[in-house]
């Protein structure tokens, strides 16, 4: 048995508080990439509430991270559906909420990410904001590992072309 498998099977669920503190900030970024910063907080709020509702049924501690991203991906779709918007707006570079803090370290790059086609944006943000593996990304996007890898690659290629154009 691999060490990873033993690790998953034997561990007890950490306090939900710890899950929120550990993954919440990155999930917030991910939500912002999917639905825009104006609705990122709602997206995360729904994600975490939904996660807490199902938390006691989680069996694999090691899979919590990709499970959270799957929930967030679904909530992002729900939010789009809710108001009939087909694609996220591109003019949402105002800081999250009313704070004066800069939202992103590199606004230009962020804007490029936000303008990527749906699949590439999902794949790139899951890979680099979420730090998910290709197989985890495939799980979240409900696609094959190969397709996930390709979407990440194509997204990166497109960003490279644009930032050096």
């Amino acid at each position: 048995m691999s060490t990873a498998a033993t690790h998953l099977a034997g561990d007890r669920l950490p306090p939900f508080e710890q899950v929120v503190e550990l993954h919440g900030p990155v999930l917030l970024r991910y939500c912002a990439a999917q639905v825009g910063s104006d609705r990122a907080e709602d997206c995360l709020q729904e994600t975490l509430l939904s996660a807490l509702r199902g938390y006691a049924r989680v069996r694999e501690v090691g899979a919590i991270r990709s499970w959270l991203f799957s929930i967030a991906a679904n909530k992002a779709v729900d939010l789009h559906r809710g108001d009939g918007r087909l694609a996220p707006p591109v003019d949402d570079l105002a800081p999250l909420g009313a704070s004066e803090e800069p939202t992103y370290r590199d606004d230009a790059l962020w804007a490029q990410v936000r303008e990527l086609p749906e699949k590439q944006r999902q794949a790139v943000t899951l890979r680099y904001l979420g730090d998910l593996t290709h197989s985890e990304i495939a799980e979240v996007m409900e696609t094959s590992q190969e397709a996930a890898r390709r979407s990440v690659f194509e997204g990166l290629e497109r960003l490279r072309r644009e930032v050096t154009a």
Binding site: D106, L109, R160
Partner: protein, 210 residues
């Protein structure tokens, strides 16, 4: 695009990872609303808050039944939360609860010297059997008074079990509120304290029992 394309963002991957940096204002807002909504939906089995005191930051954890854990400043918060998750429920989340709000107010009064006993519902589930009996006997020791380990063991019905009584007191999940700091060595000396001997001395000093 308002910004001109930049050529200085290479290599791309680290810049992308940088985008994940947290945003404090938005994050705090999310945390606050999450606690409120989760509590309103009854999704939280153990709530906790941190409370500033003259001893330092005290963690107060509560279930629907009442205050379940008082964590002293020298205790590891992560370990306390892990213990609550394992022994009660993993649905542990920061947030307020009536018993915690009451405990916070009463702790302030206690440390100001304006309160001599606590009136907060207690959840005793983290201790059982003889240990619980020892702690319930300890809860009856009046403000400003002290007792020996043997006296507490006797009050709990097993006069010879003073060592076991010591263990019960050392693992008191509700220190200060259940005043294990009032139990001293009969030979003199303060004896051990979960919160450290300095905290024990400070509490006895406050109560004028030192």
């Amino acid at each position: 695009m308002t910004n001109a394309p930049r050529s200085d963002v290479r290599p791309l991957e680290p810049s992308l990872r940088d985008l994940a940096a947290p945003h404090a204002g938005a994050w705090e807002r999310v945390r606050r609303r999450l606690s409120e909504r989760a509590a309103a939906e009854g999704l939280v089995d153990v709530s906790f808050e941190r409370h500033d005191s003259p001893l330092g930051s005290i963690l107060l954890g509560a279930t629907d039944a009442g205050l379940v854990r008082v964590g002293l400043p020298n205790e590891d918060e992560k370990a306390i939360l892990a213990e609550l998750a394992e022994r009660i429920s993993p649905r542990v989340l920061a947030g307020s609860r009536d018993s915690v709000t009451r405990a916070r107010r009463q702790l302030d009064e206690y440390f100001d010297g304006d309160r001599r006993s606590f009136d907060v519902p207690l959840d005793w589930q983290l201790t059982r059997g003889f240990r619980r009996e020892v702690l319930q006997a300890t809860a009856l020791i009046a403000y400003g008074r002290t007792a020996s380990y043997r006296e507490v063991a006797t009050a709990a019905g097993r006069p010879g079990a003073f060592r076991a009584a010591g263990t019960a007191l050392a693992t008191n999940p509700l220190p200060i509120v259940v005043p294990c700091h009032r139990v001293l060595r009969s030979a003199g000396g303060l004896g051990d304290y979960r919160g450290g001997s300095q905290a024990k001395a400070q509490l006895l000093d406050l109560e004028g029992a030192a």
